[in-house]
Amino acid sequence: MDEQIGFAEFVALRRDTWVRAACLLTGDVHTAEDLVQTALIRVWPRWKRVSARGDADAYVRAVLTNVFLTSVRKRRWREVTTDPHDAGLLNQAPGKSGSSDEVDQRLHLLRVLSDLAPRQRAVIVLRYYLDLSEAETATTLGCSVGTIKSQAAKGAAKLRNSIMAASSSKAKEDER
């Protein structure tokens, strides 16, 4: 069926972006894949209508964010892996390039990001990773632009402060 071939192509084009965004939301690659899969399962039956409207990416983004926020709300406990080789995104190699300082900075950012409230985290990811405008982020999360502005400002400030604090403490250690 044409709409299902279109869906597969669309997923092939966008899957990496969604899984990466989901990684930032959940802090774990496997949970991120599950999240994207759950969201796409909800999109699949409506694909014909969604693709005809021409805003499929926005629709998937909204579903993905909703699934994430719902899963966080429903979760009363959290699985913690005991496998040292499979400890989620925080222990994975972030990239081939980069000094040890950069690696530390990245890991620190992820830890701080995971400490943000889920909705605030979603705002940061949508605004600063997916580069959505405030209006687009507001539409995705179903709230006002004012709320997005304030949440983004607070979240970004926490991240900046935390990164700066980590950098200054690192500099002090280096001086010694």
């Binding site: 597969a8 990466r20 994207v36 796409l40 994975q92 980069g98 990811v125 600063y128 990773y129 900046r160």
Partner: protein, 227 residues
């Protein structure tokens, strides 16, 4: 570019640097399709079950609103056989007194439907034993009237020789709903008796009028007065 914009850029770059090495599974679309199909099947099953339950509830409500009509009973009411001798009559003779008296009603409980089948007797235009008329009763008041008339009959404790019979007979079925056996009552109009699998009874009351009103009268040259 002001300081905030610079910080935003740093944040953007840091976020990208953290996850841009990650790649999604190549079979994601396939897994999604399988999952979506399973979800749809499960939803359809649930919808089917809900629809069945809802249909049952609606049928129950309709029955409560229109107590005279019992569609579920009507659906399983027996049909009259075309020939009287089709029925397997286990006992045509009165049984000896078993000390039951009339303590146990002939038609117990609350039947939800009844069928009356009248068969032609001797010297009728139709061949003897052919189905001459029938009535299917689902109205509660009418079922109750028939049950009451039948239950006025008295259990027969002796032996009887009936010179006219058997002729001009009717068979009555009382149903009690799905999954329960029908009660079969044979009405021997000439001898004024009712026969069930358990016992025989002497007819009292207006059973003849009820049966003939619903299924027509026996066209016999020597029709006796109504019993």
């Amino acid at each position: 570019m002001n300081e905030t914009d610079e910080c935003d850029d740093v944040l953007h770059n840091l976020l990208h640097a953290n996850v841009d090495h990650i790649h999604a599974s190549t079979d994601l679309a396939d897994r999604v399709e399988v999952g979506a199909r399973r979800r749809r099947t499960a939803r359809r099953s649930v919808t089917g079950v809900v629809a069945l339950v809802a249909a049952g509830a609606v049928a129950g409500v309709l029955t409560a609103i229109h107590p005279g009509s019992v569609p579920t009973a009507a659906a399983q009411l027996p049909r009259c056989a075309q020939q009287l001798n089709t029925y397997l009559r286990a006992e045509r003779r009165p049984k000896p007194n078993q000390g039951l008296g009339n303590a146990k009603p002939l038609v117990p409980g609350t039947p939800v439907g009844a069928v009356v089948c009248r068969y032609a007797g001797l010297n009728e235009l139709r061949p003897e034993g052919d189905l001459a008329g029938s009535a299917t009763i689902t109205d509660k008041a009418q079922i109750s009237r028939l049950q009451s008339a039948v239950n006025k009959s008295q259990i027969f404790t002796g032996a009887m020789y009936c010179p006219f019979g058997p002729s001009d007979e009717a068979v009555m079925f009382f149903t009690y709903g799905r999954g329960t056996a029908n009660l079969e009552v044979f009405y021997d109009r000439w001898c004024g008796m009712l026969h069930t699998a358990d016992a025989s009874y002497l007819v009292r009351g207006d059973l003849y009028q009820i049966v003939t009103n619903w299924t027509g009268i026996w066209q016999h040259p020597a029709t006796p007065s109504a019993r």
